[in-house]
């Protein structure tokens, strides 16, 4: 428990960016509920897995990104699901989502209609290209977002194709922006009682972090962007193999107690990195990621007052 536990966050994002944003909020004490489609968040399908055997409850990516959250299932694409979501919003201060722009509005769950339920709601939309503009409808993955945001042009060896960084760096960076933007805006909405819609485009986040390149071009029309080899690459030296090895071997991080052991009923006891920064008065919470639908009963029956009979109907019709 920290002073942030009064902040209720609903995470609809089902992607690395939104999940990282709400992982950090949960880690510092916010009350985060992640909402998965009934079949489960697609991140559950991505490894690493123990012995490389895929298992929905054992994805290192999912386990890492969802520490400290409650997990419920809900199909907001069905009208019954959308109505339940609106009830959840009544008790929430923050919604984080990453759907294609316009999708939630089609379901009657866009920012404008949610803000009518809850005027102080902060809604954070984190997408590859943002809510408007010529590319808003473009499909993207971590790879193409990394290219469009300008970081790929300066990553890799000069005599071969540009490289992406290891893992999901474009999405993580967008997620970190989403966290900071959400924290700042929720802090302000807490006092003004007026929320806002935050529009985060991964492309813009990545370009923002290229400050030395951008400023050099802006003021001097000097393009310093070159690929200098992945290890020495100036902008983005996340060579994952080296970085992981480095992390595990740096004695100071161990001495600082950076790594934590977290137990999980399916995946067992594993080592997780700790917080990205330390707040003396808001200690990092280390609860495990939820099992699929683990908190359905607690949230639907306990918080929304749905009866067990109704819960059975909702489950049978695929709403939850």
């Amino acid at each position: 428990m920290t002073s942030l536990s009064v902040l209720h966050v609903l995470d609809l994002s089902e992607g690395v960016a939104g999940a990282y944003c709400t992982k950090l909020l949960a880690g510092f004490g916010a009350n985060v509920t992640m909402i998965e489609r009934p079949a489960g968040d697609p991140l559950r399908r991505h490894g690493p897995f123990p012995d490389d055997l895929p298992h929905g409850e054992k994805s290192a990516l999912f386990l890492y990104l969802n520490t400290g959250k409650k997990g419920i299932t809900l199909d907001i694409g069905q009208r019954s699901g959308a109505l339940i979501f609106r009830r959840l919003v009544e008790e929430a201060e923050v919604v984080v989502e990453g759907f294609a722009p316009g999708y939630l509005t089609e379901l009657g769950l866009g920012y404008e209609s949610l803000a009518r339920i809850k005027p102080r709601l902060v809604m954070t939309s984190v997408t590859p290209f943002g809510q408007d503009g010529p590319y808003a409808g473009y499909k993207a993955t971590n790879l193409t977002a990394f290219a469009a945001g300008g970081q790929m042009a300066v990553t890799g060896e000069p005599d071969r194709e540009p490289l992406k960084n290891g893992g999901y760096q474009a999405e993580y960076q967008a997620g970190l922006h989403a966290f900071t933007a959400t924290a700042v805006t929720a802090f302000s909405a807490d006092a003004t009682e007026v929320g806002q819609h935050i529009d985060i485009a991964a492309m813009e986040c990545l370009a923002t972090m290229l400050e030395p390149y951008v400023s050099s071009w802006a003021y001097e029309k000097h393009d310093i962007g070159r690929r200098l080899g992945n290890i020495e690459s100036e902008a983005a030296p996340i060579a994952v193999v080296r970085a992981v090895q480095d992390l595990l071997e740096v004695p100071q991080l161990r001495a600082r107690g950076f790594f934590q052991e977290i137990d999980h009923p399916a995946a067992g006891r594993l080592t997780y990195p700790g917080p990205p920064f330390r707040l003396e008065a808001m200690p990092w919470q280390t609860a495990r990621a939820p099992l699929l639908g683990e908190h359905n009963e607690e949230v639907y029956c306990g918080e929304l007052g749905i009866s067990h009979e109704e819960l059975a109907v909702l489950r049978a019709s695929g709403v939850i």
């Binding site: 990282y20 510092f28 690493p48 897995f49 012995d51 054992k58 473009y138 499909k139 993955t141 790879l143 193409t144 290219a147 300008g150 790929m152 042009a153 300066v154 194709e161 540009p162 992406k164 290891g166 893992g167 922006h177 989403a178 966290f179 900071t180 924290a183 700042v184 805006t185 929720a186 007026v194 935050i198 985060i200 485009a201 986040c205 923002t208 290229l210 030395p212 951008v214 400023s215 802006a218 003021y219 100036e234 030296p237 193999v241 970085a243 992981v244 595990l248 100071q252 991080l253 600082r256 950076f258 594993l270 080592t271 990195p273 990205p276 330390r278 707040l279 003396e280 008065a281 808001m282």
Partner: protein, 377 residues
């Protein structure tokens, strides 16, 4: 229109390197009054294009913190502020007498953010690669979020706190699944280049022109069929070498050369437009100049014009997220050396004109750049 989220909060910026300067940039972008306290003699290490970029929306005041009177003025300023952000080495903090405990004696609920490579307690020999380091803006961005949480805590409890931001820990957050994965299998990840664990083709392909590239990522059978149609090779979709995800995963080398053969004839933009129209993720590899010209970023107003009295008028990126009710913008160009001395010393600290003159003569405050300061002209 609402006031900016951090309107009415005052932040003292003691930073000397990118990470911390990036933290206070983002806080200033969000409406905080950021006062950069500069050394009287050598100024900021980065007074340059980079300085002008990262210092927009900030004020500057030049104070000699090594002199007793400079330090006293600084502590009086802390008493009027909400947050101090610093990136000194621990030894320097002690020498200057500006530890968290001392700052807290000036203002009991002060929030102090300390940025370092590996955390306090030790000067690190390993500060990462020379030049620009990706860890810097990552740590800087995380620290800005930390400030918002610490302000939240202060509002609820009346307490300030110390915030410890170690670059290496901030960056570790972005590869956490590999740390968890290592503890599962005791194995480091294999270098994958641009390839993906399930998508194929998934890569960066050469285009017409010099050093022009496009990225393409194909998620499923339907998208692969669309790619084949756009390439003018619809028969490849049913070719046994590529007919399903597993075959494509196994035939990535062959696939990549087929895709390259097509992309080489086109510009990255032409490939992107054609594939996006068919529902396939593709994007050009854009460098800084191309980002400035990009129609999407232009249409969204990502680039904003800023006029600096000495550096001229330029387009720079605005605020990296958009707020519907209080859109934030570049409000001020980077400050010139000591530009806001008067505001700080006379306006906030209520010194007389005579006192200010006397302090300047004694070198406690700086009113012109020292030999180490290069104004961007």
């Amino acid at each position: 229109m609402e006031r900016l989220p951090l309107y009415s909060y005052r932040i003292i910026d003691l930073t000397t390197a990118w990470a911390g300067a990036y933290t206070t940039r983002l806080l200033a972008d969000m409406g905080a009054e950021v006062i950069k306290v500069e050394a009287v003699n050598d100024g900021d290490l980065m007074r340059s294009a980079m300085f002008n970029h990262v210092s927009r929306n900030k004020y500057a005041c030049a104070l000699d913190l090594a002199q007793a009177r400079g330090r006293e003025l600084f502590l009086r300023l802390v008493a009027l502020s909400d947050v101090v952000v610093e990136d000194y080495r621990p030894k320097v903090v002690e020498e200057l007498g500006l530890s968290y405990d001392i700052l807290r004696s000036a203002r009991p609920d002060i929030i102090v953010v300390s940025l370092s490579s590996n955390g306090p307690g030790e000067d690190s020999a390993d500060d990462g690669p020379a030049g620009v380091d990706y860890g810097e803006p990552v740590a800087g961005l995380a620290a800005a979020g930390a400030v918002a949480l610490a302000l939240w805590h202060r509002r609820r409890t009346g307490e300030g706190q110390h915030v410890d931001v170690a670059r290496r820990e901030a960056i570790a957050g972005l590869i956490g699944e590999y740390v968890v994965g290592y503890s599962m299998n005791r194995r480091l990840p294999r270098p994958a280049g641009n390839r993906h664990s399930s998508m194929a083709p998934h890569g960066c392909y050469p285009c017409a022109g010099d050093d022009r590239w496009v990225t393409i990522a194909v998620e499923d059978d339907e998208q692969f069929a669309a790619l084949c149609r756009v390439m003018g090779r619809p028969e490849l979709a049913s070719d046994p070498r590529f007919a399903d995800v597993v075959s494509r995963y196994r035939s990535q080398d062959e696939l990549d050369s087929l895709v390259q053969g097509w992309t080489r004839q086109l510009t990255p933009q032409a490939v992107t437009v054609a594939l996006q129209a068919a529902g396939v993720a593709a994007a050009p590899v854009l460098g800084a100049p191309a980002l400035f010209d990009d129609p999407h970023l232009r249409a969204r107003g990502f680039w904003e014009s800023v006029s600096h009295p000495e550096a001229g008028t330029w387009d720079i990126d605005g605020v990296p997220w958009r707020l519907s009710r209080s859109p934030a913008h570049v409000r001020l160009p980077a400050p010139r050396f000591g530009e806001h001395n008067d505001y700080v010393l006379r306006g906030l600290l209520r010194l007389s004109e005579e006192e200010v003159r006397e302090l300047a003569a004694a070198g406690v405050i700086g009113d012109r750049p020292g030999p180490g300061v290069r104004q961007q002209g």
